[in-house]
Subunit: 307 residues, 2 copies
């Protein structure tokens, strides 16, 4: 089933202890689509400036990503510049130039309005709601957000949260949103705002999924070479939503698989800059790493010893 | 099979956002024994001062912990005072009074020298080696250490590491010991010092085990009420070593089970101050939570979809 993503398309400049790249393909919607397109037909909504080289998106087109919703506006493309230290969990933002993204008002082409799976990447919560009002046939709507909106647009965010099924945010955002430090209590608070599922991203520590009566824990894949974590969270969400859209199954068992698929996609994503690793990734490699997650986590039942 | 532990016995005073306790039973050897005694016959070596109320250890005696190796010296018992904020992963030490622990020189009673399983809790690496020279029949020796010895006694620690089979330390210690930030590289460096197995404790994020060709990841149990993490790492090690000593099986599969057992014991440990939760814990509860770890982590195989 088709999967709609709405969010940023950007030029990123990134420094890590291992090197530096300038003006590479970035943005939440692009990272998400690069991962999700392995599994489902993705329809993308975003905006680029007149400085943007649309050839950047050719590899997505080759993966049957529908780019009808990507519009070009007069002005500069969104640019983000960031730096990571050895602790690759935390980026330091050096510069943000919103450019045409400042006036982004996502309009869904008519073909997009029937997409059953929707991912609202991190944009203003009112715009997220504006997208939802155009969607006519949703089966699962998931949302990402960030500290900026949690702090500055809480009422709007709460309203949008009440209209979505799933939230995919990081650990700090869960704590900030709920005002609770303890993650179990924080998760329960977020679920009380409306969504029935919360996926907590924990970077190199993996992910947790909470539903009303259910918790699932996934580790991150222990990697020896992490080059660039930019977009890893969106790549994770792309794997999760891509798997759900492909299978059309929202059972807890399938959500667990989806989280492992997301973890697999994020683990590849960080192995190179931008979404370069995804460009050459093979489906067989995805399956191989999925099996590696099983090998990483499985253990046998404990036998009660005789008295 | 019997399990020897050598380490501190202390009076702890602990403040958390949830309350405060003074002069409660603490020390690595005591925490370790309180968990390990669920699974194996524990022999404990430590020292207390003439101010120590030996009735504190009665509950260990009731669990058949051999206390012959606990000596009483003239002076004060080791005292530690610490405080935790909402981030219960990190303690702030307010005061340390070594007392009789400053002159601790662990001597093994003759019955102790044949213990096949040995846990060297966090003491001076030269004393750890001194214990090993007295042990005559070891099947598995595991060691804990801390930043103080890694920084100040590196040559002695390296020598001790070359004589043990397993290291159980936290993430920061792995990085400090190896000089590597990346955990996979750091683990490989630690294994190159001698031990064939490394277990990395990550607090609320769980644990990782590394062998030469093998990684296992365990989550921590998501708890809604964490009261006091003091001793959780020693309780974890007690569960790991207790399970190994009970089963006498050092296969990777059994090591995985041991890590889950350790995680179970740590998860109970933090539910109350000191080792109070362990005092009332039932074996059936241990098994129930072990099954909860399976429910927390299991997922189904990914089926390759038809083309």
């Amino acid at each position: 089933m088709s999967l709609l993503v709405v969010g940023s398309i950007a030029y990123d400049s990134v420094e890590t202890p291992f090197g530096k790249v300038d003006d590479v393909l970035g943005g939440a919607a692009a990272h998400f689509a690069s991962a999700a397109s392995f599994f489902a037909k993705v329809k993308m909504v975003g905006v680029v400036g007149d400085d943007y080289d649309l050839a950047n998106l050719d590899f997505l087109k080759a993966r049957e990503v529908d780019l009808e919703g990507v519009t070009r506006a007069k002005g500069k493309t969104f640019r983000w510049k960031g730096r990571y230290g050895y602790n690759l969990n935390e980026a330091e933002t050096l510069d943000t130039q919103l450019g045409v993204f400042a006036d982004f008002k996502p309009e869904l082409p008519s073909e997009y309005r029937k997409a059953p799976y929707v991912f609202l990447a991190n944009i203003h919560p009112e715009l997220q709601l504006y997208v939802l009002k155009q969607a006519q046939n949703t089966k699962l709507v998931a949302l990402d957000t960030m500290n900026f909106w949690i702090e500055g647009e809480r009422p709007a965010l709460k309203k949008t949260l009440s209209a979505v099924d799933m939230v995919i945010i990081n650990e700090g955002e869960v704590r900030q949103l709920s005002g609770e430090y303890n993650l179990v209590k924080a998760a329960r608070a977020v679920l009380s705002y409306g969504p029935s599922r919360l996926i907590v991203k924990r970077g190199e520590y993996g992910a947790l999924m909470f539903t009303e009566d259910h918790i699932f824990a996934s580790p991150a894949y222990p990697l020896e070479a992490v080059f660039d974590p930019t977009g890893a969270g969106d790549s994770f969400a792309g794997g999760v939503m891509g798997h759900l859209a492909r299978t059309g199954d929202l059972s807890n068992n399938n959500l667990r698989q989806a989280i492992i698929v997301g973890s697999v996609m994020a683990s590849f994503h960080v192995e190179d800059y931008s979404m370069d690793r995804n460009k050459t990734l093979l489906e067989a490699e995805v399956h191989e790493r999925f099996r590696a997650f099983r090998a990483l986590t499985e253990f046998e039942d404990l036998v009660v010893p005789p008295e």
